[in-house]
Symmetry: C2
Subunit: 216 residues, 2 copies
């Protein structure tokens, strides 16, 4: 029914930012979404840390030297970046823009500081905060994972608490009580966002013009 | 997992306004949604026209005299109303408020004039414009229905055209090309809206308090 021009307008990519405390289930939700929505991709981050065995340039990360990374910071080439211990990690602007322009929706799984950086340059991004139903559940999840020591778990819990106070800076909150429902909610948010009037001005104008032409 | 206080916060009703030209498929979409979402109800309109055979007070309409209706207009008791030929039709504010407070989401299928009236008193309503993919498709649908004469169809087409220019006053646009996809899009919009931060401030505050208590 739609011609090629309409198709191209229809498939504009959306930048989705997912945040939430460790143990909220962001990773599981992201993986499930990517399986269901073939148009949804992860962005590839850039880092100054050394590649681990099996990691590929442009697949797992873009690997750069510290000097190159700092030059790119100066050139405002990141939509967000952070220094973790001695290494930089960042999301290259050009990479994300290319994906969005090609009609791909890009999902970023980043912390609240990164999310707020993204918001400065991508106002029309969709900011989703994933939260466990209670601190008790979060504690159980972190313990069950068995990857963190007790003091790390306690730090994560305290961070979760202080970050929740900033949830109002996001557009949506999804309480991950039942995983399947949480995945469906995030998928619904993405489908709903593609219907937003603000994302469809061109398309509405085009349909309107066609109405006028046919009405003559 | 959630206690009764959380449950009550969770189930706040949303007012959904669906508009679009005759033949866009609004009625079909509404019926399908109500079957899938047990928490979604139509509001019952008030009218001054006489009940038809089988129509029941409070089910099909609230039937009132012209005098009563005009008194209610004076009392600002409608979220929208219109006079069609000699009869009034309106959506009673108290009825909708009762449903929303009881945690029901209320769907109104009304024209653009009515929708703009609703927007004045229900800023956080969700305004969705349903549009057929083209004037050609709309023409076919109206002809296939076989209920309208040619001059009525032409009037409807011309109205569809002038109304589309006002679609930007809505929050979402859903192109009803494939019915099943359009239904899923509207359902997704409703699910997404329940996750909006602005609709969950109380809930976030409550979870935050619980985090703090548990963290002590």
């Amino acid at each position: 029914m739609l011609n090629s021009k309409e198709e191209s307008m229809k498939d504009k990519g959306i930048l989705i930012v997912l945040s939430g405390p460790s143990g909220a289930g962001k990773g599981t939700i992201c993986d499930a979404l990517r399986k269901r929505m073939p148009n949804l991709v992860y962005s590839v981050s850039m880092t100054t840390r050394a590649p681990r065995v099996g990691e590929q340039e442009g697949v797992n990360y873009f690997f750069r030297s510290k000097e190159e990374f700092e030059k790119l910071i100066q050139e405002d080439a990141f939509i967000e970046y952070a220094k973790v211990y001695d290494n930089y990690y960042g999301t290259p602007k050009a990479h994300v823009m290319n994906l969005l322009n090609a009609g791909k929706s890009v999902i970023l799984e980043i912390d609240i500081q990164g999310a707020m950086q993204v918001k400065e340059s991508f106002e029309d991004g969709v900011f989703i905060y994933i939260v466990p139903p209670s601190l008790e559940v979060l504690t159980h999840r972190l313990r069950d994972r068995g990857t963190d020591a007790d003091d790390v778990i306690n730090k994560r819990l305290s961070l979760a608490c202080s970050e929740l106070a900033l949830a109002h800076k996001y557009d949506y909150i999804v309480v991950n009580d039942k995983l399947e429902e949480a995945i469906e909610k995030v998928a619904s948010i993405l489908r709903a966002e593609t219907c937003k009037i603000s994302r469809n001005k061109e398309k509405i104008h085009y349909i309107y013009q066609k109405y006028l032409e046919q009405g003559e």
